[in-house]
């Protein structure tokens, strides 16, 4: 059974702090790893990673994948209150490319 584990489950920081969110996985037929941000409603896409060691960046957010050690990290620098959300990690596998999600990390950024 495919499994995705995220840590920590929740995190409270102050504006300006840097955070690192973790995602480890055990899946068969790995295709890619994705990060989503979920505020009130639908998850919104952040990154898709398929190759080890290549960092994806978007503004203050960045992510990297290690396919040998089966994990990924999501970094957020200079956090803002608008970064408060649940961050979801998902791994894509199988012929229909279905996603298996972790439970998410609830990030709260205080002013």
């Amino acid at each position: 059974e495919d499994k995705v584990v995220q840590s920590p489950l929740s995190l409270v920081v102050h504006e300006g702090d840097t955070v690192t969110l973790n995602c480890s996985y055990e899946v068969t037929n790995f295709r890619s790893l994705l990060w989503y941000k979920q505020e009130k409603k639908a998850p919104t896409f952040l990154f898709m990673l398929t190759s080890s060691g290549i960092e994806k960046k978007s503004g203050r957010l960045s992510s990297i994948l290690d396919k040998k050690e089966l994990f990924s990290i999501l970094n957020i620098t200079a956090t803002q209150t608008g970064d408060s959300a649940v961050y979801l990690c998902a791994v894509e596998s199988g012929s229909a490319r279905q996603l298996t999600f972790g439970s998410g990390t609830q990030l709260t950024v205080l002013p």
């Binding site: 995705v4 994705l34 409603k41 639908a42 998850p43 919104t44 896409f45 898709m48 979801l88 998902a90 229909a96 490319r97 279905q98 996603l99 298996t100 999600f101 972790g102 439970s103 998410g104």
Partner: protein, 112 residues
């Protein structure tokens, strides 16, 4: 929003009644998915479809059925709703074979 519409947005129903949730897309995408989201469990796959009349089960398919009689619509049916099916249901589409999933706005279902 990648042209995905879920209906209804909210529904309250009673145990034992049938319920159908609809996911509608406007962009002719092949893959469609139904997920449910519950506290502590993240999103879990219920069923998915890879074409008209082509569907398969996901991780938590018991108590659910789906149908896809045309490309744009993917229906999720709870034949006899139970309180354990109280959840937020998300539909998702994949824009291309190697593209990420985009999610609909969700349906909040409460089974009393």
């Amino acid at each position: 929003d990648a042209g995905i519409t879920q209906s209804p947005r909210h529904k309250v129903t009673e145990t034992g009644t049938p319920v159908t949730l609809r996911c509608h897309q406007t962009e002719n995408h092949r893959y469609m998915y139904w997920y449910r989201q519950d506290p502590g469990h993240g999103l879990r796959l219920i069923h998915y479809s890879y074409g008209v009349k082509d569907t398969d089960k996901g991780e938590v398919s018991d108590g659910y059925s789906v149908s896809r009689s045309k490309t744009e619509d993917f229906l999720l049916t709870l034949e006899s709703a139970t309180s354990s099916q109280t959840s937020v249901y998300f539909c998702a589409i994949r824009q291309g074979d190697y593209e990420k999933l985009f999610f609909g706005s969700g349906t909040q279902l409460s089974v009393l």
